[in-house]
């Protein structure tokens, strides 16, 4: 992955920065130029809560090449209290303990070792609440 491309998403992936529409309050990750709810174009940067709810999940048995060393792994969609949802791995949990609606928290983790150039990439994963 080319450095500029990775760096652009760092605020979202590293610090869970989100953009909140100044007019209607809808929250977006990643940032947008225009709100799809009200059409406004002004946003404030907020930090998302790190407590989320699991909306749905799966266990991936045949991943892309850069995730093969982690297979099988759980992947889930979680909802933040701010209304935004994101997709990420659910880790540090037995697959049997996964349950729709459960509380999880968001942690900063290593995501992948990029296939071609071997750059380590970091971002968010979902983990059980301690």
């Amino acid at each position: 992955m080319f450095p500029a491309r990775y760096a652009r998403e760092m605020p979202h992936r590293y610090r869970l920065e989100a953009h909140k529409c100044k007019q209607c309050g809808k929250v977006f990750v990643p940032r947008r130029e225009i709100c799809d709810k009200c059409g406004a174009t002004e946003f404030e940067v907020i930090r998302l809560s790190d407590r989320v709810k699991l909306v749905t999940y799966t266990i991936i048995h045949t991943p892309a090449s850069q995730f093969k060393d982690q297979s099988p792994y759980a992947l889930g969609i979680c909802e933040f209290p701010e209304g935004v949802r994101l997709t990420a791995q659910v880790v540090d949990i037995d697959f049997a303990d996964l349950k729709t609606g459960m509380d999880l928290q968001v942690e900063f983790r290593r995501i992948q070792t990029d296939g071609h150039e071997g750059i380590l990439s970091y971002g968010y994963k979902f983990v059980p609440v301690i």
Binding site: A64, L75, I111, Y124
Partner: protein, 385 residues
């Protein structure tokens, strides 16, 4: 707008076509479509292809195909809406004809997926999802549909068996399709015991990796009689819509809103509703997709798609036969070609020329072709003219 007729269709056998290149695969289909008409010179050509770049390092698909089709100087372009690229090619071809900018237009679709490794194909297909916020975090295509499947099962009680019934039905239909990649029966147990891909989806819940192409030829209705001897088929409804690219950004992940919106548009234009459709080809890239889509199209209430397939309502002879061609499941899924192959099947049925697959009273058919995890949909309604 000018009324538009489909006057020719062509589709060769799909599969792992190791001896054929991207251009060979397309040209074979296009020549079959031309041979189905009295046309020898086209005015324009639009080709659906999801990723010539990632699958074979070849873009500029319109020019290369016009060249190898032997139609030097033919105006030709390529269109893309991920796995709905074929449906988009059909729409753009209709626009060319309906506007009067062109008279005789070929709409084709092609994908050559086996020239890369399995990992390469996974990477290419993932380009239909949000690369930065889904794929980066480990999402795969079966994975995204698995997320939908679990949500649908928990919300509506859709069962593992109901998912499997989609595969069983479509493979059964596919046994009657000489062009299908996998024209064999599968049993409920085989589906349920096949290799796990993304829980709850197993390998027999998934459409395969396929090389293939299909082509259809459209022209103004008033010219159609002079250009074909086959029964005339008219395009009466068109619909197109998108939704958030990332599954997690959609309002409801147990339905495909892009399909609902596109279908409403197509129904309104045709002056028809779901009950007026005699049969449909829908985008069963995964078993769950067919269940969700038959609901989103309005054929069944939300949550009733699973019970419907289990009860045989979508089987041949059922209330509304779905995927008589075998669907993506059995026929194969060369992503850019799929939307055109749907039109091929509908025209064959409306002409009464579908061989062993033919159903009675096929007067109104619907094609629903979608891209990615449902972020785009094209719906077309075709009728006997």
């Amino acid at each position: 707008m000018r009324d538009v007729a489909v006057i020719g269709v062509g589709m060769p056998k799909w599969g792992e076509l190791w001896d054929k290149s991207l251009r060979d695969v397309f040209v074979e289909a296009a020549l079959l479509a031309l041979a189905d008409t009295k046309v020898d010179k086209l005015d324009n050509m639009l080709i659906g292809c999801m990723s010539g770049g990632l699958f074979v390092g070849q873009e500029h698909i319109g020019a290369i195909m016009a060249d190898y089709l032997g139609q030097r100087h033919l105006a030709a372009g390529r269109v893309e809406s991920a796995c709905a690229s074929g449906g988009l090619a059909f729409r753009c071809a209709i626009a060319e004809v309906a506007s009067g900018m062109s008279d005789v237009v070929l709409a084709g679709g092609v994908e050559k997926m086996t020239d890369v490794s399995g990992d390469g194909a996974t990477y290419a297909l993932a380009a239909a999802a949000d690369q930065e916020y889904e794929v980066f975090n480990g999402a795969t295509f079966p994975g995204l549909y698995a997320l939908m499947a679990r949500a649908h099962m928990e919300k509506y009680g859709t069962t593992r068996d109901q998912l499997a019934h989609v595969a069983v039905k479509n493979h059964h239909n596919g046994t009657k399709n000489p062009n299908a990649q996998y024209p064999f029966e599968v049993t409920l147990d085989q589906v349920k015991n096949s290799v796990m891909i993304a829980d709850p989806l197993r390998i027999l819940d998934c459409s395969p990796i396929t090389d293939g192409a299909a082509a259809v030829i459209v022209c103004p209705m008033e010219m159609a009689k002079d250009l074909t001897e086959k029964p005339l088929v008219k395009v009466t409804g068109l619909g197109q819509a998108t939704d958030a690219i990332a599954l997690h950004s959609r309002q409801d992940i147990t339905t495909i809103e892009a399909t609902t919106v596109a279908a409403k548009e197509a129904f309104a234009m045709a002056g028809k509703g779901p009950k007026d459709i005699d049969f449909a080809e829908v985008h069963d890239c995964f078993t769950i997709a067919e269940i969700v889509v038959t609901e989103s199209l309005g054929f069944f209430e939300p949550g009733k798609g699973g019970p419907a397939v289990e009860a045989g309502e979508t089987a041949r002879g059922g209330r509304i036969p779905i995927n008589l061609s075998g669907g993506l499941k059995s026929k194969g899924h060369p992503v850019g070609a799929t939307g055109i192959a749907q039109i091929y099947e509908i025209v064959k049925q409306l002409r009464g020329d579908a061989g062993e697959r033919q159903i009675e009273n096929a007067k109104v058919g619907l094609a629903q072709n979608m891209g990615g995890s449902g972020a785009s949909t094209l719906v077309h309604i075709l009728e006997v003219a």
